[in-house]
């Protein structure tokens, strides 16, 4: 390190250089008295210069130590410690939270897929609301970005879900009287609505442009804790004759999303459609966008019908085992007889742990997952 990089006044630097002290190393073994004489400055000033030089060398060394590992590298121990502080967003369904290890993970990309009408959009809206549960109620108190490619996002539904969520929060907490009033006033469905940044996207070029823009947007809105794309698929199922090109575009997008999740510590939720795949002379069900896409997400949840019950199946996760859990889509407004005024009602406890039985290997039926 050069002397001229030290945080000294220009005159001091000039004196050091003209006296022959050009590197910090040359200052390392000299006494303040000698330096004062060489530079023709006071003893105090010389001591000050040496002190600054010493501090810089220490700083320099600590940088060098870190640089010995590749920049940004981390030990597994650090990562494990960090993981304990990763926050999760509840799905409001206890069983589903359990198989997900507590909810949708921040810092990760989670894909949720299923047939039309199974409740993907409902799940997306629910998460956009749940991310806003205030810190004192055990939530994240964050904001949401909702990217709508299909046009299924209905404001009236968001309003209902927000209302149900507020009701539930107020019920589940024992408040002091004035606390209750204050909370009630603070938590308005309208506030929940204004904390969802809604983007409607009408083509795949727009979708790519928006995802490129997200980084800037989130830098300006640091409290965004979840990005929901409903659905990632829609615009990629037309106009792509060149499937290799589609794969490249998609994996570029997936990389950007993963980077966002990591660097801003937020959850990315991608909703995906189901399609049929022609193999070995028969049609099988699979999530859309092909095999290479299935590597793009950290977690993959498949929603399916089991008889007349809805089930969620954790198909892929680096740390949790595959399992399925029942859930339901309900509403406090339409179904008064339902005991729980909630979207994803807490169902009877029945988590079924499954072995390696894969969803795809069973021809065309989600049903066979449940043993």
């Amino acid at each position: 390190m050069e002397v001229c990089n030290l945080p000294l006044s220009p005159s001091q630097r000039a004196k050091l250089v003209s006296a022959g002290y050009t590197t910090i190393f040359s200052l390392s073994s000299i006494s303040p008295l000698d330096l004062a004489r060489d530079l023709n400055v006071s003893h105090n000033e010389a001591a000050q210069i040496l002190k600054i030089a010493l501090q810089s060398t220490r700083f320099d060394q600590s940088i060098n130590n870190n640089a010995s590992i590749v920049t940004g590298g981390q030990t597994a121990w650090d990562m494990l410690r960090e993981e304990q502080f990763i926050t999760r967003i509840t799905t409001s369904c206890e069983d589903l939270d359990n198989i997900l290890g507590g909810g949708i993970n921040c810092q990760e990309v989670t894909e949720i897929g299923g047939v039309p009408g199974i409740g993907k959009t409902q799940m997306g809206i629910q998460l956009a609301v749940n991310v806003q549960i205030p810190l004192e109620c055990g939530g994240l108190g964050g904001k949401a970005i909702y990217i709508d490619t299909e046009g299924s996002f209905m404001v009236e539904r968001v309003f209902q879900i927000a209302e149900a969520c507020i009701e539930d929060l107020l019920e589940s907490r024992v408040f002091q009287q004035q606390d209750y009033q204050a909370c009630r006033e603070r938590m308005q469905p309208k506030t929940f609505l204004t904390n969802i940044f809604y983007f409607r996207v009408c083509s795949y070029t727009e979708q790519i442009a928006l995802i490129n823009y997200l980084e800037k947007f989130i830098t300006e809105n640091r409290d965004v804790k979840i990005v929901i794309i409903d659905s990632i698929t829609f615009h990629f199922r037309q106009d792509f004759d060149d499937l290799a090109l589609r794969t490249r575009v998609l994996s570029g997008m997936a990389l950007k999303l993963m980077k966002l999740a990591k660097s801003f510590s937020l959850a990315i939720v991608l909703l995906n459609q189901v399609t049929t795949k022609f193999t070995e002379g028969s049609f099988q069900l699979t999530l859309a966008l092909g095999d290479s896409w299935s590597h793009a997400c950290t977690n993959r949840v498949i929603l399916y019908w089991n008889g007349s019950e809805r089930f969620a199946y954790l198909d892929k996760s680096p740390s949790l085992r595959s399992a399925s859990a029942p859930y339901s889509v309900t509403s406090n407004l339409w179904n008064d007889e339902l005991c729980h005024p909630y979207l994803w009602a807490h169902f009877k406890r029945s988590i079924m742990l499954l072995g390696a039985s894969s969803w795809l290997t069973h021809r065309g039926s989600f049903r066979s997952v449940a043993v």
Binding site: G117, R237, Q238, V274, F283, S365
Partner: protein, 291 residues
């Protein structure tokens, strides 16, 4: 790129013209969204489409869109006489809304298409028409009756053809959604059904609230399969079942001791719960029956 303010995002609905059905659909069919009605022939899907063409003209205070509408049909012939009949009852049931010289037929534009390519060609230049409609009312409703007829003949049951077909579905849906967003349109599409044949895994798969769809005592599934189901925002199913009537008197006139019960059900919709509503088709139009 700026996020839209959800508080200002309109969720206009187009009324059905019947209070019971409106209550069932929570106000009618939503704008900026594609609603599909699936049923076998003769159930009443064209009837209700025609009714929407008229009720869209009602002022917003009456639940309508105060708009003219575009009817794209692929099934022949266009039921002009029936539309005329409905017009008369529409005017007499809304006596103080329109001036005496108002003719609802002036605000309905009809166009026929014969193939999927033709429909895509039409949709590609439709914004010019919507921007300058030949009517003082803006266009806020597009009805396509029916989508299935466009895809019935041309395609083989080979993977290659199916892929080409589903690519067309997504193209049509995305063009419609783009226009729906741009002009805040309500889009209504009718679809046919096909008989369910045992061991058909893909068609037999449950989509939406209803495990199996039954009409006229047969098990059916919506035409065009799973990929098309991914293209629409809401799907409604109309069924018809013939019942032998006992001694009870009922709403519809029993013909030889037999009556038809018609039902409208929500298969899936982002804003509607699982529910169903009985309806009748009368001379004056389609009406819901309070249960």
């Amino acid at each position: 790129m700026k996020p839209e303010n959800l508080l200002n995002l309109s969720s206009h609905k187009c009324t059905t013209g019947c209070l019971t059905l409106d209550k069932f659909l929570s106000g009618g069919i939503p704008c900026n969204s594609i609603t599909e009605i699936v049923s076998e022939s003769g159930c009443g899907k064209t009837q209700i489409s025609l009714q929407f063409l008229l009720s869209a003209q009602l002022p917003i205070s009456h639940g309508g869109l105060s708009s003219s509408s575009l009817f794209i049909h692929s099934e022949y012939p266009f039921p002009f006489r029936r539309l005329h009949q409905l017009t008369l009852s529409f005017l007499s049931s809304n006596p103080n809304v329109f001036s005496s010289s108002y003719n609802p037929l002036d605000h309905i534009f009809v166009r026929d298409v014969q193939s999927a390519e033709e429909l895509i060609g039409l949709l590609a230049q439709i914004d010019r028409f919507i921007e300058n409609p030949p009517s003082p009312l803006p266009v806020r409703l597009i009805v396509i009756d029916s989508i299935a007829a466009l895809f019935r003949s041309e395609f083989d049951n080979t993977p290659k053809d199916l892929k080409r077909r589903s690519s067309l579905f997504f193209k049509i849906a995305s063009m419609l959604k783009l226009q729906a967003k741009k002009f805040n349109l309500a889009v209504l599409i009718t679809n046919q059904v096909v008989d369910f044949i045992g061991n058909d895994v893909v068609n037999g798969m449950r989509v939406g609230n209803l495990g199996c769809l039954y009409t006229s005592g047969r098990r059916v599934c919506p035409a065009l399969g799973l990929s098309w189901a991914n293209c629409v925002n809401s799907r409604l199913f109309m069924s018809r079942n013939v019942e032998i009537v006992g001694k009870e008197t009922d709403l519809e006139e029993p013909i030889g001791g037999v009556r038809t019960r018609r039902k409208l059900q929500v298969v899936f919709a982002p804003h509607l719960p699982e529910s169903s509503c009985e309806f009748v088709v009368l001379r004056e139009g389609v009406f819901g029956v309070d249960s």
